[in-house]
């Protein structure tokens, strides 16, 4: 079990994603890095930001950062909503429509890569996790 959010979790995520053949195939045309911003809420005290570099079906890097960094896409939402996504209780696109997440970057490109996005969620959901209490 690894703690979410943590450096250990994002390292696991990178390893698992690079083992995921379905992701490799679905994201073969994808070029673009992400910042996943986990905003504090009742269950999380401080903001956590993951930088994830995705390139043609491969995760070239994934780590926690302390400062703002530029990326093609920034997906931001409160901790409780990220938890729902990891538990597969919330489709991130449905979350975006309902304002539970915000995105900076061309959201229509994400729409075209919906299978890849699903595999990102599938991968995240497979990591045994300890959530913040």
């Amino acid at each position: 079990m690894v703690k979410f959010p943590s450096n250990e979790w994002i390292r696991n995520f990178k390893d698992e994603l690079n083992k995921n053949e379905k992701y490799k195939e679905a994201a073969k045309d994808w070029e673009g890095d992400f910042l996943f911003v986990i905003s504090p809420d009742e269950e999380l005290k401080n903001e956590v930001i993951f930088y994830v570099d995705l390139w043609h079906g491969e995760c070239r890097g994934a780590y926690m950062i302390n400062d703002e960094q530029k990326a093609a896409f920034i997906l931001k939402g409160p901790y409780s909503n990220w938890k729902k996504v990891i538990n597969k209780e919330l489709d991130p696109l449905r979350g975006l429509i309902r304002g539970m997440f915000t995105v900076e970057g061309d959201s229509k490109l994400i729409l075209d890569q919906v299978k890849a996005a699903q595999e990102l969620v599938n991968t995240a959901s497979k990591i045994p996790v300890d959530f913040e209490k």
Binding site: R98, T102, L111
Partner: protein, 507 residues
């Protein structure tokens, strides 16, 4: 034997057709409209089925899949040879009173394009705290007014009802699509004046994805069918309605009775403001653009201008601007003529009312069309806001400074909607701040007043958000980040319409 057009739609596997009586409306040229006499027994079956189809199909359908399906549906409509489009063009000019040219250019050329994949909104809600000043959103700017006070939230609406006013063509189609983005089944009351397009559009979804289409029911009942409306409200999570003052009162009461929220879009006033900065050698271009706003939809939309305030102190005076506008109205009216509903009496009424004033020595000048297609009135009296008789009757009024307009129209407050502007960038934000503060919600470059964009708020609320959350934030948008550039683009588009009668591409 003539042609019969069905004005209703629901899952045909319910086999309800034989259980209903029908009314037939002869619209001429051997075409009749077929409308069911709805009973609560039949409606009950329809609502149960809508819920079932939502659960079985819609909730298991990815958002991207929904959007791709709608994109394919829209592509069908863009094809001039598409059978349902041909039916629409045969029927809509008769029932709406608009000319084929108007329907082709502003209806199919613009409204339907809003349902192309790239234009369907997938961001339903903005964080108002990030928009306390006009801030970039879409290809324009938005600002949030007020404090968030959520009065309703339901992130999983099961059934959404829509009551569509007759003055916005294609609204029923947009409504049924938007509901799918929040995973809701839909019933739509199509307008009595135009009961055709909603069912045609739903059938075109059925052609591509029948199960998705069966989460939609198109119900052409009359407002006086109280038992139908009462039943439908009792089964809905929220109702979005457009209509006039009478509709506002009766539908709000009904929503209260059933303790459901209503997202209402009621009677509105819109107007144009021209700053002196553009009244130089560009004045003719500005008049050309304004003529499209006045001509579009024969001023029947809530976003249509009813008055034009022109600032004094430019090279061209407000009175001279009125004359320029009259010249352009003639050209634009040839490209976008009136249909069978010409409102000739309204134009004549406007003429006689102001002709008397002119005769009495008031500072009034009339610039009429010889064919009564339109009328431009210059009214140099102290500026006040007066509703237009519509049907392309427009008043030009002088103001010493555009910043005098917000206090002048303040009494209209919540009735304000779209403000068409030709105001340079450096003066636009202070004007937008002031006009937004008193109630206007959509500021658009002239000639774009009727060309809404899907990222813009509608009467101060975002169309997707208000289906799952109502708060007290009022959003105000400016449709561009750079008005000079937008005026240039708009001129190119306007000339394409006039010279080639081409369909409008979204700017």
């Amino acid at each position: 034997m003539g042609k019969t057009i069905e004005c209703y739609f629901w899952n045909p596997e319910l086999y309800l057709e034989d259980k209903l009586d029908y009314k037939y409306q002869d619209i001429g040229d051997g075409i009749e409209l077929k409308k069911p006499v709805l009973t609560t027994d039949v409606l009950d079956k329809i609502i149960i089925d809508l819920k079932q189809k939502r659960k079985e199909h819609l909730l298991n359908m990815g958002i991207a899949n929904i959007i791709n399906t709608i994109d394919r549906v829209t592509d069908q409509w863009m094809n001039p040879e598409y059978t349902r489009r041909k039916i629409a063009f045969e029927v809509l000019p008769k029932v709406t009173g608009f000319s084929v040219e108007m329907l082709e250019t502003l209806g199919f050329g613009h409204m339907l394009r809003l349902l192309k994949k790239d234009n369907i909104p997938i961001t339903g809600k903005l964080q108002h705290k990030n928009f306390t000043e006009f801030t970039e959103h879409g290809d324009g700017l938005v600002k949030a007014y007020g404090n968030a006070e959520v009065t309703h939230s339901n992130y999983e609406p099961e059934i959404i009802g829509h009551i569509c006013a007759g003055n916005i063509l294609g609204l029923a189609a947009i409504e049924m699509v938007i509901d799918k983005l929040v995973d809701a089944a839909t019933w739509v009351k199509v307008p009595t004046e135009e009961p055709v397009f909603g069912a045609l559009y739903a059938k075109s979804i059925e052609d591509i994805d029948p199960q998705l289409a069966y989460t939609i029911a198109v119900l052409p009942y009359e407002s006086r069918d109280k038992h139908v409306q009462d039943y439908l409200f009792s089964k809905s999570d929220i109702v979005r309605a457009t209509g006039g003052e009478q509709a506002r009162i009766s539908l709000t009461e009904l929503a209260e009775k059933h303790k459901i929220p209503i997202a209402g879009h009621w009677h509105k006033f819109s107007f144009i403001t021209i700053a002196r900065d553009y009244l130089d050698d560009r004045a003719s271009d500005i008049a050309e653009l304004v003529s499209l706003d006045v001509t579009a939809w024969d001023q029947q939309g809530c976003f249509s201008p009813q008055e034009i305030f022109v600032e004094t102190g430019g090279d061209v005076s407000p009175e001279e601007f009125a004359e320029l506008l009259a010249e352009e109205m003639e050209t634009t009216s040839i490209a976008l003529p009136k249909g069978v509903n010409s409102g000739k009496m309204m134009v004549l009424d406007g003429y006689h009312q102001y002709f008397k004033k002119e005769m009495m020595g008031e500072p009034v000048r009339l610039f009429p069309s010889s064919t009564h297609q339109w009328l431009v009135i210059y009214d140099g009296n102290k500026p006040t806001f007066e509703p237009s008789p519509l049907f392309r009757v427009i008043k030009v009024k002088p103001v010493n400074n555009i910043m005098e307009i917000p206090p002048l129209i303040k009494p209209l407050g919540r009735f304000l909607q779209t403000v068409g502007v030709a105001i340079p960038n450096d003066r636009l934000i202070p004007f937008a701040d002031a006009i937004g503060e008193i109630g206007a919600t959509n500021i658009r470059t002239i000639s774009n007043m009727t060309l809404q964009k899907t990222w813009e708020p509608w009467d101060g609320r975002f169309p997707l958000q208000e289906l799952f959350e109502l708060d007290n934030i009022r959003w105000v948008s400016i449709n561009t980040k750079n008005i000079d550039e937008d005026i240039q683009k708009s001129l190119e588009r306007k000339r394409m319409i006039i010279n080639n009668n081409m369909k409008i591409p979204l700017v």
